[in-house]
Amino acid sequence: MSWLLNNGLRSISILVVQAGGCRGCALQFSMGMSLENEIKGISVTGNPKHADALLVTGCINEKSREAILQLYEQMPEPKAVIAAGACSCSGSLFRTSENNLYTTEDILPVDAWIRGCTPDMHEMLEAVVRAIGASLEKEGSRKI
């Protein structure tokens, strides 16, 4: 928990967005959360106004892009964005699709990337911590 105290935080709330895809990354994250939750002090929220970080998994199409941007707008500052998985980071195998797919970086300022198909759940939790640190630095280490 030392990293939490160093950042002046009590806990981190994550808004997970499974943008569209196989949902393997979202399931890995859920599993990590379920098995490691108490150690890390990270919780999942469904309310964007409670969220410290937005974790995006899967390919983003035009329809999900609009919904994600709406959610991001509603999140309070400072806020972090994490791109999780190959689809979210680079479009993976679907990048040549005709459906105008976006990577997370195409639509939002990303603070941490978790590459791989499917990424390791421990790496995902570590990336959340990294992203929160980066967003706090950006905001001049504002205390929450």
Partner: protein
């Protein structure tokens, strides 16, 4: 663009053909659409015990034609997908316009495993009508696959859905093998069956964890996640990817799995049995859980017969979808579980029983695994067409594959979710809004394989 209606004569001729097939016991397997020379060609692929019949309709763009939903309600989602891609519409539309208060739920929520938006018409806290908006998962997979080689398509299909990727890949490989007359070695067939059972187990566990979350049983959900962790530990011995991507190949498997590995995987997997039985007994024996599950998500008998997967068996209909496959499940000894009541409780108990059945079958397959090669030489550079129906984690999957000189010309996928999805709105009528995630979780909608 102005919409024009098909003539009354053409419309009644098409509907008449559907009714004829319906009365002869045929069911709608898939609707395929293609556009050629300023015409949209619709193929209604109907199936009865392996016998395939196709009803064709050629329609000019911007025309309205009769909806198949009146005759085959399970075709609603397939029609919806066609209207998204081609300038054509169907009448009458089956949407309801609620006159009560309307709220929106989704497309993203922790209790929604995949993005989908619900527009709910409510009277107090009871759902009166539901309109569901999909499209958030759409990746254009079917179009992207056109013109590609079989190996590239297989790689994409395996990554379509975390639950069903392996089943979709296997169905595609079976279609190619059927098209080119490839004889797969016996050991490869048994190993494929082993991996399919692992996939079913994985899907059942995830369905259970989703249901536990929807019931508000956080500790129980964490316990099920520990079982999923055990599954991942076992799966990692076979492949670095938990969905076994890269293991399948036309003609067999890309690598052999030794009998020692199978025994180790089996030993790890069998550790779940006690926990699963304990969770089953807990849920069954806790009146508040059982009562809540029993009063929700009731599917009427007529609808259940048109659905696929656990929804059918939960209505007391004995149907073994494994028997649709060319894999040698008939050589194993098992009884397919079924339940009564056609409600959430029946479906959840079937998830438990199916997970236990998968454990039993994994054990049997590991014990009886034959020896020999796992791959036979084959060439996939020919041309042809194949329609296959294969079991998947949530029911049956239908695949239409057309290949031309080694390149895929057309691929059409109809997953189990596409069949079951149209029945969700009617099932939600009369449900309290707090129980909405619970009903959705027991429907086990794999939207990533439905929307592709």
């Amino acid at each position: 663009m102005m919409r024009k209606s098909w003539s009354e004569k053409q419309s009644s001729s098409l509907a008449g053909k559907w009714f004829t097939f319906k009365s002869r016991g045929y069911n709608l397997l898939m609707i395929n659409a293609t556009q050629a020379e300023n015409k949209i060609i619709l193929e209604y692929i109907l199936e009865k015990e392996g016998d395939i019949e196709i009803v064709k309709a050629s329609v000019p763009p911007n025309y309205e034609i009769p909806s198949v939903v009146e005759v085959f309600p399970q075709g609603e989602q397939m029609q919806h997908e066609i209207t998204q891609r081609y300038p054509i519409s169907f009448f009458p539309r089956m949407t309801k316009h609620p006159d009560s208060s309307v709220i929106e739920w989704g497309p993203f929520h922790p209790l929604l495993p995949e993005p989908v938006k619900f527009r709910l018409g409510l009277k107090d806290e009871v759902i009166e009508s539901t309109c569901i908006e999909t499209g958030y998962n759409y990746r254009g997979l079917e179009e992207s696959c056109a013109g590609r080689k079989a190996e590239e398509v297989l790689e994409m299909l395996e990554r379509t859905s975390a639950m069903n990727g392996f089943c979709m890949g296997l169905a595609f490989v079976h279609a190619l093998e059927k098209m080119h007359g490839v004889d797969v070695p016996e050991k490869a067939r048994w190993l494929r069956m082993f991996l399919m059972e692992m996939t079913y187990l994985h899907a059942s566990l995830h369905s259970l964890s989703h249901t536990a979350q929807s019931l508000g049983l956080a500790a129980c959900s964490a316990r099920i996640f520990k079982l999923i962790g055990l599954y991942c530990e076992a799966a990692a011995l076979i492949s670095e990817h938990p969905q076994f991507s890269g293991v399948l190949e036309a003609g067999g498997l890309s690598r052999d799995i030794t009998i020692e590995t199978l025994y180790t995987v089996n030993a790890i997997i069998q550790e779940m049995e006690e926990d699963l039985k304990d969770i089953r007994d807990q849920w069954e024996g806790t009146p508040s859980i059982a009562r809540r599950l029993k009063k929700n998500g009731i599917v009427d008998d007529r609808s259940a017969r048109l659905m696929t997967g656990r929804a059918v068996r939960a209505a007391g209909i004995s149907k073994d979808f494994r028997k649709d496959s060319v894999l040698p499940w008939s050589k194993l000894s098992y009884t397919i579980p079924q339940a009564a009541g056609s409600n959430c409780f029946a479906r959840v108990m079937l998830m438990m029983e199916d997970a236990l059945l998968s454990l039993e079958l994994i054990d049997q397959i590991a014990e009886d695994m034959p020896h020999g090669d796992v791959k036979s030489p084959c060439r996939m550079d020919g041309s042809g067409e194949a329609i296959v129906r294969e079991p998947e984690a949530y029911g049956t999957l239908a695949l239409l594959v057309r290949q031309d000189e080694g390149r895929l010309q057309e691929l059409k996928i109809r997953s189990a979710a596409a069949l079951n999805f149209p029945f969700l709105p009617q099932c939600l009528e009369g449900t309290e809004i707090h129980d909405l995630p619970l009903v959705i979780s027991t429907f086990e909608l794999d939207l990533s394989s439905m929307e592709k």
